[in-house]
Symmetry: D2
Subunit: 348 residues, 4 copies
């Protein structure tokens, strides 16, 4: 059993790590930090976790020094900007790092600066991280020691578009990703935009033209694109009145002759061996993925207008964050990829 | 006071007509039919209406004959296909007809057959109807006696795109309309797709490539398009876990030089005199329109990818159905356009 | 037209006053304060109100001095404790005050101190206020100049229990009020308890044994009780995942022979002339009251266990707050009681 | 591994059995019937289960004969009335039966007739069943071969009240159970009362005085009551706009001196060894139990009014149905009681 520390465990992705790791036979959480919640018990902030963590406290990063010193794997579940500054201070016992923030996802530090509005403070660390989307980059992840876990929207959008882009079936400029997310994607911090009375019975777009997951999608698809084609993509996120779930509805123009059935065949083949990807003719529903690490995918070609539409549904906190982080942790530590993760959603 | 009959009053759009007409000084509901509910009182099926209609019953269309004989204006709130077969049987007292179904929206009966899967049975009536979107076709509506009230999605999509298309700012082929609706848009009939446990905490696309509001959008935009440009459009509807509201997020490619500020100016000018259209830089939220006849609109141009994004939020049962029907009824009967309609939403 | 000022207009009850007064022919809002929002426009904080208040700003109480000086009626929509300290500073032009806070509801200032945890700072004002529940105390309200508008829960609970208590049908000690409220009852201020991800898909009790509306219910029922019977009551509020609505389910023991039909008759008679009370055998639903000033009431007697159950549903922001405040304002200014208020809910 | 059949697997409790059994190491589902869905695949009706059951079909009970013939344990997830008529036809291979319906819960068949409106057709089977609430009747369940799994409301209400009744701390006549449930408790069948537009943003009571879980609560508490005290209880269920969860708020009068702290001590002691009961001072929230088999409990004594209030939150489909059925199945087959069940909720 590998001893695990969670840095930033009091947010939603931290709590989801705690939930999933409680049932994981290969990892044992020995310490969890949560600076703003230091001193309170996990079970008080998250009564849902009381059954598994009756006494575990959140501690400050300082208080965690001793316990961290014996830890082999660390999950960083911190706001962007914080992982960069913290990473140099982790003890030498830490063999594996899985970072859930945006800090080590973009390979080009100037992209980070442009979209996040501040310079990257540890650009020298960037080459040491692999991008943790196993369905697309498994070979790189196996054997790595540092993983940048993908953003929630990029996970859904790139799983929807990857088979098209890899096979060179669509034009890679002017792609459109129109997506909706549940509210947990915005984190636990109090904001007027995520107050119940703001969100309930509302549907709205936000971050028009400027959402930070845009360059991440472009980078991933750019790496997949045949012949180094340039990728440009407009991403419009929406907020839906629900706790969890992302649906990405993606639009592309074909480069070659396609049909709905040929595209479905292509997707089925591409994801045939993927335990967490369900390809189907059904229009995917976020609810079918709730609590699971699965991604549900479909695709269509509209002969009338010449558009390809690809859709992917995930649970933003599992496949879009903590579940995928554990999937990567399994891979880098040599465990079976599915360990501790469910393919089945909690429904209804 | 003009005497009014509602045919098909037991569905959601019928009930919304009853709600709005209760506060309308110029119309008086004297009879409402509802075949499946005949014999039950409005107040029993809709306790929300008990305060205004304590005794009014739903009657069958046969039982309504006598009362209809004295009615001057009729709202038809029926499923598609039914208005066509009924319209020839209305008594001669009926001077004005506002039809909320899809039956008289498409000018070309072959389009009706293609998208609705059955031949139109009263094609000779089509030329007698005007399309009831006052912000786009007010001149036609004033003075008309028969109005085909628009569909909910076409109302949102065309109000979002109209300024672009009218001014020739965008290419009209390959337009994209990605929209989400609350569940009331699916009507009151029981379906597994609108059961609470299906919809709650879910976000999903439906009717991929094939939603019947597609040709209606193309027809409206085609009429607005400068120089008879062809319009083709892909429409992807989604179901959001809320009672009411539609947000249409629309994408187009510019034909000329544009910027976000020039586009916003264009929209402000276009809708300057419209009492029910609010143009703003804010990203529109469906919740702000709840219960009102308002449409909230904004627009952006993304220099990076070359896409124009236009958004419109409405209440699907008001501006998207019964409110707009009353707005048209006001116009055709010579009343002030805003009578009985609110510009303000119920919030939160 | 009477000129009106709203003090504390940026909270939910303030915004609801703005919504309702926009359609009121007898009142005109000339100024609205909102200290924390001073400088922003009503339409920016509440886009739902953009159609009626495109330019009206929230101003600080200091900036409002001049405009308040000409105002005849003031609504105070402030947190408890604030109305007390402000009331002495209102200009002499103000002939009528309707306070929506808890400050002037409890006649006995020691009760205020016990339940609100601080001494009342203007006890001399208490006798000048009448309690603004027209269905129970209309005679006092007509002709008054200062009204303490009731709390949301006390409105629902006392309308449910009043016919029983007035007629001496039940024992007045050991009454139980078990109620659930939508989230808007907790106000607009950010709290972790009203974040979307806390509330959505959750049902929980709060304020066990200690909710401040308890003594208000006891006071009202004590005034109604035949023969000065003592009233004691346990109140358990719950939070339901919805924006609006309160359902109070109340339990009492009969003092005399009763039956469900005799109780329903008693309720129908008691509320026969009340425009905003709907008595029915139907189990009341909060949704039927949404946006309206109506209260839906029913009652049962369980022969098996000897319990009387009385239920009342209201919209907490309308009949439970701003609508009732306007109902009272109508009465004290000599207008028709129903002016500007709807008996019909927005459904679905 | 014990081979398992599910009879009536297409409803919500059946689907929840499939979800939980997919991760259970000791049971293997070999057949699942679902008469109304016969011929369709589990993955089509429940895409959430596609990852674990890609090909398993629902079959009719007739088609299942052969496969049932080799099954050792059967879960019956049928509507009430159906288990009775079916139970005689199960093959002799079936050693264990866990029935999730109401058919074998009430020991007195005349009670069944009174509350369910029809005579019991297999009263001779009643003595062969034990009541499957392990926290209260574990000794009976271990070693039994037939289990009647409790109703969802009785599970929450009796876990809340049991420590009080067992210890003789409260009067057992005139108990009150006021509870709210998520919509999944009403099952998958289409009804207007569970349509999204009926339930969303609504809170309402139903089944006033007459809910069928009432005699079940009285029976359980009657068995626990010291000295054969009579138990009478009024139960008022409410419907809350959420998928899952029950909160029972229960009221009783003390027989002896009590205090909140003495009551909390009593609960902590009573449930000290129970893996699925969390006793806490916190007011329990249904959301903390979502997807888990846990029950969260607290208790208070109100000195002011003399009422004891006890609260319990569960997930109605897990601890209130399928999870508890598996907990019992574990006990009767000699497996560890917690196998395949989670103590942790999915949050948010």
């Amino acid at each position: 059993v590998i001893s695990v520390g969670i840095i930033g465990g009091s947010g939603f992705t931290g709590a989801e790590l705690l939930r999933l790791l409680a049932a994981h036979p290969g990892f044992e959480v020995v310490v969890t930090t949560g600076d703003s919640q230091a001193g309170s018990r996990v079970a008080d902030l998250y009564p849902s976790l009381a059954g598994a963590y009756p006494t575990l406290p959140f501690v400050s990063i300082e208080e965690a020094r001793d316990e961290l010193a014996g830890v082999e794997l660390v999950f960083l579940a911190l706001p962007h900007g914080t992982s960069q500054s913290l990473i140099g201070q982790l003890p030498s016992s830490v063999r594996w790092i899985v970072d859930l923030s945006a800090d080590f996802r973009l390979r080009d530090p100037s992209l980070y600066q442009r979209w996040y509005g501040e310079p990257h403070t540890a650009p020298e660390e960037l080459p040491r991280f692999v991008y943790g989307l196993p369905e697309l980059f498994r070979d790189e992840i196996v054997g790595a020691s540092r993983v940048a876990a993908p953003g929630c929207y990029p996970t859904a959008a790139t799983l929807a578009l990857a088979p098209l882009v890899e096979a060179g079936l669509v034009k890679t400029s002017g792609l459109l990703v129109d997506a909706a997310s549940g509210v947990s994607g915005a984190g636990r911090a109090l904001k007027s935009t995520t107050a119940f009375c703001t969100v309930d019975e509302d549907f709205t777009a936000y971050g028009l033209l400027s959402h930070r997951h845009t360059p991440e999608m472009e980078q991933v698809l750019g790496r997949l694109a045949a012949g180094d084609a340039e990728v440009s993509l407009l991403f419009t996120p929406h907020l839906a009145p629900m706790n969890r779930g992302i649906l990405a509805t993606c639009y592309a123009r074909p480069r070659v002759d396609v049909s709905t059935s040929s595209l479905l065949d292509c997707y089925r083949e591409r994801y045939a061996d993927e335990p967490f990807v369900v390809v189907s003719e059904r229009s995917p529903s976020t609810k079918a993925t709730l609590g699971s690490n699965s991604a549900h995918v479909t695709v269509r070609y509209d002969e009338r207008t010449g558009w390809v539409v690809a859709l992917c549904a995930i649970d933003n906190l599992v496949k879009g964050a903590s579940g995928q982080a554990i999937q990567c942790a399994n891979l880098i530590t040599g465990q079976a990829e599915e360990t501790g993760l469910s393919r089945i959603g909690v429904y209804p």
